[in-house]
């Protein structure tokens, strides 16, 4: 630069000497030489720059084409005559799975009148086979499906609706998309898009200078940017780098990259990527990319099912997704859509009548974004942890896997409602809660709440709050005892009296009952149902801590269990999910059933990758568990759980156990019906004291949940080796059914009382004589 400046300066001076002229001539030659060198350097730099841009744009192009988040689905609703579902829950399920109210004959619509439903399913590719499109008619009465009929489509006694998508596992940059392929598009979409955005798409080489010139002229006339001359290719490139600045350098780069892209890829590759890449809206932190996802997002429908007026809206929104957001600015969006419909008509894509009809239609946008970002953060958290056993995080984020979970949306809603409506009534604002619901016999996790605000994706108490379980441990102590029928039955009298334990190191332990009282002798079943502390410690010490510990471990706890007798009163820390795991075995006659959140994982194309099958493993004698279940039912009817029936009708038979730790730091309830197992924890994150007990803190949440869900009562099948007898518990004798104090109770065969007494409590003379002879 300095040289050229100097070269110009002499030109302005006159006259010049010959010497000066020669020098000037020399300099002029030098100037050209330098210019040439600079041009060459420029070319090399440009070539290098092109190589750099090429690498950038191809890597983006390849990356975006295949980077798809994993999709997480709820369990599909199975419809068959007798299926338990309320009309309200069915309607909620339909909404969640993207069905809209309509005539029930268009795919993805339903019609409800009272308890009668007409549903037109879309069909779905499940890992185990395709569920075809069907028209269904059914009615709901008494919370059960009645008269399911397939009106159109292949007949079947049982059909699955497409599952609701409940979340995704997104790439770090929070972009989401549903990949669409060119051959599965609505025919109208590509020509409509080209008519509006890039008429010469198939003719240009990435840039269209004429269009740019036209646009520039229009912009100059208007004194601002009113028209863009970008081709689809340029828009695609712009989308890759998503910067809003409108500099000349950026425009130049875009143009260069567009040309490079066109050199590398075919028009159809570019078009397909464009359709999957274009930015079409925002849902919180998540951006909506591509027509496939936008169709779901705005209309809750599959792209292939969209009608012309809906396609026109999406095409129109390309110009400015937030400016033309149909939910926020419906008027603007309508005007834009109608303009697109005009252009489609001009391009001959729509006849006049069709275009006129389309213009007169409302926008047809669904009320709410059809799926917001991970509606069920706590549940998805557990799903991710289960997936992490077999999959790499980066694969989950980008490989487009399909994850079929066991989440039951209706149960989840009931669970969230139980927590959010009950906690405020417990007073303390710092109280937190967790709720786990599983299917009793399959171990499928149906619902999960990780805190008092179920939408908050933070600390997940259901999985990570490891807290002392208090009296929830007692059933395992008694189970270990009842597994020795020659020593313990439900009517074995236990000492409810104080005692002191002295350890070798000199420390002393003196357990107490919650109410501080002593009752002398109590039968075992009552000691459990009323949750007395003194008898359980005596029983535990009698059968041995090792026995109790191994029972807990067999039922599936992974917590460390101390060897101190305080563990008999629940000085064992567990998470709510772990408690649900160990109670599964109690609810199912001694079969440990591993909890599952995932049924199957497939790749993006539907090919199965992994299946997580039902497993059962017998870990206890069903006969002993049946006895324990008796006492756990009694807990609900006469014991510490009876206040559940303030909320739940007596008609629903339940079984369960309360748990409370010192100073009310933890309130627990774990219990089950015929179909469901639910565990609730309530307490403070700082482990502070509360005035609550299991019955006043956790049980209200549990009952509120149970009361909302249609389900079967808990009436366990009497297993082999168990017989029911009428007994007089106090006298430990068989008695007559008619006697006032007679109680019908189960015994492991051979462990029932040997003596019989009358209603008055008298032993028949002969038998008494025989017994006296035996024991005196």
């Amino acid at each position: 630069m300095k040289n050229t400046d100097k070269a110009r300066k002499p030109g302005r001076k006159k006259p010049a000497s010959r010497k000066q002229l020669a020098a000037a001539q020399y300099r002029r030659k030098g100037f050209w030489r330098i210019l040439l060198r600079l041009a060459l350097l420029g070319l090399v730099l440009l070539a290098g720059w092109m190589v750099y841009l090429d690498a950038q744009v191809t890597s983006r192009f390849e990356g975006r084409r295949f980077e798809v988040p994993s999709r997480v689905y709820a369990r599909p609703l199975e419809l068959y005559s007798g299926a338990p579902v309320s009309a309200a829950a069915l309607e909620q399920e339909l909404a969640l799975a993207g069905f809209h109210k309509g005539d029930g004959s268009r795919s993805g619509s339903y019609q409800r009148s009272g308890g009668r439903f007409l549903i037109s399913s879309r069909g779905f590719d499940f890992p185990d086979g395709k569920e075809p499109r069907r028209h269904l008619a059914l009615s709901i009465a008494g919370d059960q499906v009645q008269n399911l009929q397939v009106v159109k489509g292949p007949d079947s006694a049982i059909v699955r609706l497409e599952p609701a998508q409940i979340g995704g596992i997104y790439p770090a940059h929070q972009e989401d998309r549903i990949l669409v392929q060119l051959d599965k598009l609505p025919e109208l979409l590509p020509p409509a898009l080209m008519a509006v955005e890039d008429r010469r798409f198939y003719d240009h080489h990435g840039i269209a200078p004429l269009s740019i010139a036209r646009a520039m002229l229009a912009n100059v006339r208007a004194g601002g940017i009113v028209q863009g001359g970008s081709t689809l290719t340029q828009q695609l490139v712009k989308n890759f780098f998503l910067t809003r600045e409108q500099t000349l350098l950026r425009k130049g780069n875009e143009a260069l990259m567009s040309i490079l892209l066109e050199l590398h890829y075919s028009k159809s590759d570019i078009l397909e990527t464009y359709l999957n890449e274009v930015y079409l809206g925002q849902a919180g932190a998540r951006s909506i990319h591509g027509f496939g996802l936008a169709s779901q997002f705005y209309f809750a429908e599959a792209l292939e099912d969209l009608l012309p007026h809906q396609l026109a809206l999406l095409v129109g929104m390309v110009k400015g997704p937030s400016y033309y957001n149909p939910r926020r600015h419906p008027q603007r969006a309508t005007a834009r859509r109608n303009l697109v419909l005009d252009q489609m008509q001009q391009a001959g894509l729509l006849g006049e009548a069709d275009a006129q009809r389309a213009r007169s239609l409302p926008l047809g946008v669904s009320d709410k974004a059809s799926f917001s970002q991970n509606r069920y953060p706590a549940y998805i958290d557990l799903v991710r942890r289960h997936l992490a056993r077999d999959y790499k995080e980066e694969d989950l984020r980008s490989e487009g896997l399909r994850v079929f979970t066991t989440l039951n949306p209706a149960m989840q809603m009931a669970a969230e409602k139980a927590v959010t409506e009950t906690l405020p009534r417990l007073g303390d604002k710092a109280l937190e809660s967790a709720l786990v619901v599983t299917a009793k016999d399959s171990g499928e996790v149906l619902a999960l709440v990780g805190g008092r605000d179920p939408r908050y994706a933070g600390f997940n108490r259901a999985l990570d709050a490891s807290r002392q379980i208090g009296s929830l441990v007692k059933p395992f102590v008694y189970l270990a005892a009842l597994s020795q029928p020659q020593r313990y039955t439900l009517i074995t009298p236990l000492q409810d009296t104080r005692f002191t334990l002295k350890f070798e190191n000199g420390t002393v332990w003196q357990p107490k009952n919650y109410d501080g009282l002593e009752r002398g002798e109590v039968p075992l079943h009552q000691a459990l149902s009323k949750s007395y502390n003194l008898p359980v410690v005596r029983v535990g010490l009698d059968i041995g801590l090792a026995e109790v510990k191994s029972t807990l471990q067999a039922f599936g706890t992974d917590s460390a269990i101390s060897d101190y007798p305080s563990m008999l009163l629940g000085a064992v820390a567990m998470t709510p999910v772990n408690v649900a795991q160990i109670y599964q075995g109690l609810a199912t006659s001694g079969f440990n059933t591993p909890l599952r959140t995932i049924r199957e994982v497939t790749d993006a194309g539907g090919e199965p990758l992994s299946r997580y099958s039902l497993q059962v493993n017998q870990v206890a004698d069903p006969a002993a568990v049946h006895l324990l279940q008796y006492a756990m039912q009694e807990t609900m009817q006469e014991g510490t759980g009876r206040s559940a029936y303030n909320t739940v009708p007596r008609a629903l038979a339940l079984a369960g156990k309360t748990g409370t730790t010192d100073d009310g730091r933890d309130a627990w309830f774990a219990g089950f019906s015929g179909d469901l197992l639910a565990v609730v924890w309530v307490g403070r994150d700082d482990n502070g004291a509360t005035p609550l007990t299991g019955a006043t803190g956790a049980l209200p949440v549990w009952s509120k949940f149970m009361a909302q869900v249609p389900q079967h009562s808990f009436t366990p099948v009497v297993p082999d080796g168990v017989q029911y007898h009428w007994v007089n518990v106090q006298q430990q004798a068989l008695t007559d059914e008619q006697c006032e104090n007679a109680r019908l109770m189960p015994f492991i065969t051979g462990s029932e009382p040997k003596q019989t007494i009358t209603c008055a409590g008298a032993l028949p003379q002969k038998i008494r004589g025989w017994f006296e002879g035996l024991f005196q």
């Binding site: 309200a88 890992p127 185990d128 049924r599 069903p622 009708p649 038979a653 249609p710 099948v717």
Partner: protein
């Protein structure tokens, strides 16, 4: 050799199961359902036990194995407010579940045990307290060579067979076959003698 024998024995059990399944199909799903308050105007149904679950106009069928004495006792127990309930047998299979089991049978006949398992798991979700579903799962696991799982599902089925002697017998025989195939001769004999004692 062992395997062939095993297949034959399991087939024998399967036939028993199939007969049982057909019997099961004849009646509807066992047990009524609790309907949350506010869902419909009617009052909730009474407590659910074997007896109470059946509609009033349906004639009561006494199985030979069911002791009328105990049924009556139980009804008395249920009449008292808040007494733990129980029942003598598991659920019958609803038609939808029986249809899936039939599909599973077809798949098994085609040698596709894995696909049969997916159908049976669907059936299990519909009829989780039906012993027959678990026996079928057990057969499918025998087919896929997972005898450990097969044994566990048989045990689970047995825990729900209650007083139904036919179900009990087919379950114990299936268990005997599986145990023998696993080399547990003593366990097999024990199961066989249980079947014989019924």
């Amino acid at each position: 050799m062992m395997r062939v024998q095993m297949r034959a024995r399991v087939f024998r059990s399967a036939v028993v199961c199939a007969v049982l399944l057909l019997a099961g199909c004849a009646s509807g799903p066992g047990g009524g359902i609790y309907v949350p308050a506010g869902e419909r105007p009617q009052a909730p149904k009474p407590p659910l036990t074997d007896g109470a679950a059946k509609p009033a106009d349906e004639p009561q069928v006494w199985r030979k194995s069911e002791q009328p004495f105990e049924q009556k006792s139980q009804q008395k127990a249920q009449q008292q407010t808040g007494v733990p309930g129980y029942r003598e047998s598991g659920d019958q299979m609803p038609a939808a579940a029986a249809g899936l089991v039939k599909e599973a049978d077809t798949l098994m006949a085609q040698g596709n045990g894995a696909a049969a398992i997916t159908r049976l798991e669907r059936a299990q979700r519909i009829a989780p307290r039906s012993a027959a579903v678990y026996f079928k799962l057990s057969e499918a696991y025998v087919m896929t060579g997972q005898l450990g799982s097969a044994e566990q599902f048989t045990l689970k089925g047995l825990s729900l067979a209650g007083r139904d002697e036919r179900l009990q017998r087919s379950g114990w025989l299936l268990l005997a076959d599986i145990r023998r195939a696993r080399g547990n001769v003593a366990g097999a004999q024990q199961a066989e003698s249980r079947a014989a004692s019924l």
